[in-house]
């Protein structure tokens, strides 16, 4: 447990020392959302109708642009091969890194989402399901995205490739994240959608940690 926490603490400390890194993801999230009123026109009715979708899709894209940094630095300076040789199983190392990734991107995006909703005229009843959905969905993104990040380690410039690999995996999370908001707006119960998001997270937990660890072992050979 001590080793597990040490990895999370180190990643968070490195991110704060490097400064801009976490801010980069959030900056991307805010700027990309700001583009939509310019693109589709500033009518509050239209924006309010598509606000939840904009926030969710942009959250997926913001997570995707951050994955390239998940293992790259550790791979380049030899930290990764050392982590693979520690008594702590590599699957748990991956899990620790996914947690710190989520704290720096998914959680931060979730906290910013209400502000973005305000800007896009999101209906009042939609805030709750949007936040609850993001809280359950974004950890699954951090877990599944690790697979893509680990698979492209062998490639020199893998950034765009990660998007192609992981965005299809994010589709179920997006579908049920949005359906949670839609259901609330038409007066249907919210719980089933959140339960499915929770189930997706429960699937992403083993798939993400075992899949990423296997891909990392291949990259280290």
């Amino acid at each position: 447990m001590n080793a597990f926490l040490a990895i999370i603490a180190r990643d968070l400390r490195l991110a704060t020392r490097r400064g801009g890194e976490a801010a980069l993801t959030l900056g991307f999230f805010v700027v990309a959302i700001t583009l939509f009123p310019f693109g589709v026109g500033p009518e509050p009715e239209l924006l309010g109708r598509i606000a939840a979708g904009i926030i969710w899709v942009t959250a997926l894209l913001a997570a995707t642009v951050s994955f390239d940094r998940l293992f790259r630095a550790d791979m380049d300076d030899g930290t990764l091969e050392l982590l693979a040789l520690q008594p702590l199983p590599l699957e748990l190392v991956v899990l620790a890194k996914a947690i710190s990734h989520w704290l720096l991107t998914g959680l931060a995006v979730t906290l910013l989402a209400p502000l973005m909703g305000l800007m896009l005229n999101l209906p009042g009843a939609a805030y709750g399901p949007l936040i609850a959905g993001l809280l359950l969905g974004t950890p699954a993104l951090s877990l599944l995205g690790g697979i893509g990040a680990a698979l492209v380690l062998g490639a020199r410039r893998g950034g765009a490739l990660i998007g192609l690999l992981v965005l299809p995996l994010f589709l179920p999370v997006l579908i049920f994240g949005i359906s949670a908001v839609e259901a609330t707006l038409i007066g249907m119960p919210l719980t089933p959608h959140l339960l499915i998001l929770g189930a997706l997270l429960a699937v992403a937990l083993p798939v993400g940690s075992f899949g990423t660890a296997a891909a990392l072992r291949l990259a280290l050979e």
Partner: protein
């Protein structure tokens, strides 16, 4: 073979390694007892690093087995992982962290036998503990990487070119560090081109082994 039939220490049993269609070594056997050291030599490309990676478990061997204290390191990786300290080509140093913070992270990942400050003193950079690692010279960075091994007591050190960028005084210090480790009952496997003072160490010249291009299998 089952546990107990192998001698204590590190044992390689008929190891075979192929990389990119080239045979690097086959039927390689050796045994390193506690307190002993093995020096790997051979020209560039003779497979020293590959052998190190096979021993560590980073690279699967094509054939053969590796035993640590009589246990197969693939079937039962846990005891081997706890005993193993790896020094690769890369130093695994984060420039954003201080010298002591770099070492403290690795000491939290395993069960250290020595404190961070003791390890830093042993590799001669105790006075640099609070400096950001980005300020270190290449030789000091290598010494910080060696400090990771100095944290451990006993176990097995796998050192791939430990002497790279070290000055003469540091070479002497490294030899003393390995001697201390061996006196503690530790094992050191060292791949190096430099002359290191390793009294009583076994030597293995990978350049003298049969190597060559593999014949395509006739089917």
């Amino acid at each position: 073979m089952t546990a107990g039939t192998q001698p204590a220490g590190l044992v390689a049993d008929h190891l075979r390694c192929e990389r990119g269609g080239r045979l690097l070594f086959a039927d390689l056997c050796f045994a390193v007892a506690p307190g002993d050291a093995l020096l790997l030599t051979g020209p560039n490309g003779s497979g020293k690093t590959s052998l190190m990676r096979v021993l560590a478990g980073l690279l699967p061997a094509r054939a053969g087995r590796i035993f640590w204290q009589g246990r197969d390191t693939i079937e039962e990786p846990a005891p081997w992982r706890r005993a193993l300290s790896w020094l690769g080509h890369d130093n695994a140093i984060k420039p954003q962290l201080s010298v002591a913070e770099n070492l403290a992270f690795w000491s939290r990942l395993s069960l250290p036998g020595h404190s961070v400050s003791e390890a830093l003193e042993e590799v001669g950079i105790g006075h640099l503990a609070d400096l950001p690692a980005s300020m270190l010279s290449a030789g000091q960075r290598r010494r910080l990487a060696l400090g990771r091994l100095a944290l451990t007591r006993g176990g097995c050190w796998l050192m791939d070119e430990p002497t790279v960028t070290l000055d003469t005084a540091s070479l002497t210090r490294l030899a003393a560090m390995i001697a201390r480790h061996r006196a503690d009952g530790g094992i050191a496997v060292i791949a190096s081109h430099d002359v290191l003072d390793l009294p009583g160490a076994q030597a293995l010249d990978l350049g003298a082994l049969d190597q060559g291009i593999l014949e395509p299998a006739t089917s």
